[in-house]
Symmetry: C2
């Protein structure tokens, strides 16, 4: 059997674990490291597919829990699958709903069998077992499906984290047994909190089961950059170097740069679009708040030198006006810019890795960015 996705390593940095490669998927090949915009409900908020592609997006994320509730995976399947549904012909990764075990913990009943969610829409029950998580993702038809994992809320006792980690491994095994689509990859998810032994053990057991790639989970739950780094440092050494590594839910530029140095290939985060909707723009000189009065008659673009739609056509003055006037075009343009910014950041990281100068690139970029002020 041909592997549904295949990671091809092209270059490793000389001074760090940073690496660059290609991820071959049923919907085309993308360069890594890659940042994936989040289209929770099968749309990256406010951005039509052509604008996404123009901003540099090549692979998207969509959400199993949300799409299973609305419109339901059967509807998506009837409408030709997720790619056709949302008119995105590039690769798509679906997360499994595991993160919602954390983010919607007050709506969750958890057992060894799986997770029962009370719908946030109408209170109906979504019974998400590992088998069902895979079945939904197979119906959606993403290129990469994620195993259902148990992402515990932190802080927690080590024993509780160990239990969640064990369960994650058992569920991962059930996911692997349940999978049936030869054209869809399944990635395992490493849990274990901040505990090196739990993370290491989890990674090794997942590799033993064998997946098409591996994610580091449980790290976008409010932890510090140091904690993310630690989780990566104790996870990645246990993961095969010839398979893709995906850090879930991380998108702060500083954190992305750190994670790339630790050998991560894939990222996703709502950060660029959520901040864009809130009038906060990312630039290489730090964040710019578009509502500020200082921009009122500023003819400059959000970021000099940026070739995105927002920066190539519109002034800060105009974009400020759109936000003050509560016009949709403000969030749209700011989202497009933020996506273009993050795609450019990882694109430059790829170049630096291939040139063996990633450590220097990262230091210079962190210096320019200043301390992170976005969430």
């Amino acid at each position: 059997m041909v592997a549904p996705v295949r990671f091809e390593l092209l270059a490793v940095d000389s001074g760090s674990a940073a690496r660059s490669g290609l991820l071959h998927t049923p919907h085309g090949t993308v360069e890594t490291p890659i940042f994936m915009p989040v289209g929770t409900q099968a749309t990256v908020k406010g951005v039509v597919p052509d604008l996404l592609r123009a901003a540099g997006s090549r692979m998207l994320l969509a959400n199993t829990y949300h799409l299973a509730l609305r419109p339901g995976e059967a509807a998506v399947e009837q409408l030709g699958g997720l790619h056709r549904f949302m008119a995105w012909d590039g690769p798509i990764l679906t997360d499994s709903g595991g993160f919602q075990v954390f983010s919607m913990s007050d709506r969750v009943t958890l057992s060894e069998r799986g997770v029962a969610f009370r719908s946030h829409l109408d209170g109906s029950l979504l019974d998400l077992t590992p088998e069902r998580a895979i079945a939904i993702q197979e119906a959606l038809g993403s290129d990469v499906a994620m195993v259902l994992d148990h992402c515990p809320a932190l802080p927690a006792e080590k024993a509780a984290i160990a239990e969640a980690t064990d369960r994650t491994v058992r569920w991962a095994r059930r996911c692997k047994e349940a999978r049936s689509r030869p054209d869809q990859a399944v990635f395992g998810i490493v849990q274990g909190g901040a505990h090196a032994d739990l993370r290491g053990e989890c990674a090794e057991r997942l590799v033993e089961i064998g997946f098409d790639g591996y994610a580091i989970g449980g790290v976008s739950v409010g932890e510090s950059p140091e904690e993310i780094r630690k989780a990566l440092d104790v996870s990645t050494p246990h993961l095969p170097s010839d398979q893709a590594r995906y850090l879930m839910g991380v998108g702060r530029p500083q954190d992305v740069l750190d994670a790339i140095a630790a050998g991560v290939d894939m990222f996703d985060c709502v950060l660029p679009t959520r901040n864009g909707r809130n009038a906060t723009c990312l630039t290489m000189q730090g964040t710019v708040r578009m509502r500020n009065a200082a921009h009122k008659t500023d003819p400059r673009p959000i970021e000099e030198g940026c070739d995105c739609l927002a920066c190539s056509r519109f002034s800060r003055g105009y974009i400020r006006h759109l936000f003050l006037a509560d016009e949709m075009l403000g969030p749209i343009l700011a989202s497009v810019h933020n996506l273009a910014f993050l795609h450019r950041l990882v694109s430059r990281a790829r170049e630096a890795i291939r040139a063996g100068r990633y450590v220097q690139f990262r230091a210079e970029t962190l210096e320019a960015l200043g301390p992170s002020s976005v969430k």
Copy 2:
């Protein structure tokens, strides 16, 4: 002096007063009849300029009252004028704020000198005289400016309408005297309610003053199609056939078809975008409500045969999902379709006029559309 805009008549229908021509403006030539989308606050809600153009938009409308309040015409001027500000390089028409005398009548103090508005944003005073209305529009730099008119709320006593009509003529004269930009046309506005004598007299006095084009105003204030037709029938015969005629605020497909038959060249209306945002789509088979459960797994586009972005890429099922999920992309796609629909309608009308078969075209189209169900 070269006229800032020039109307070139190309064809008159054989069975009606319908006509087709070209409007030459400082920002290019457009074919008439033309429908102009409304960008009140210097943006057609949710639609980036490239998508507008792809939907068939060639000339836009923006609003003097709203832009004078926010961001202020000085800010727009400093940012390079309205075209540069909103990144629209085609022609733009600005309305004068006269319609807001009607729509915001509770915020208005009217005198012979002009109109004082209490801002709907912060209660500050906007003192809109005919001279100021022209000065604002000159600062904005639109291709076509409108005179400040007095649009009375109906029903009203004939004496009150006569007074408003007289004032409209006096204000029009002051606007003409105030104008100073050789690259900006100024259109007069015919008022007079449903009274043939008032309309006729108003039109003749405006023509005597002499403008670059003429609008029929006061007809998007809740009147019936018959009342619109009557206002047109008693106004257009008094207007010069070698200048453009613009029916303000009308966009119901049925009304547009009627008005074209009466010899109108230009239209504007929020109807396509407002209905789009409310999930109501226009098609040649009547309106389609996108939230309807019937669309849940419908793979068809909003309208078969439509080549707009929404119809060429997305199913009714997907667009319904977007509306139910409260995703911005729903309003965006529905607005794009509705604009494409109206642009296609007038494009077909132009073809029919040039082929001398407009009466037949109109009858067939009205039959297909059924009774109007949009506002």
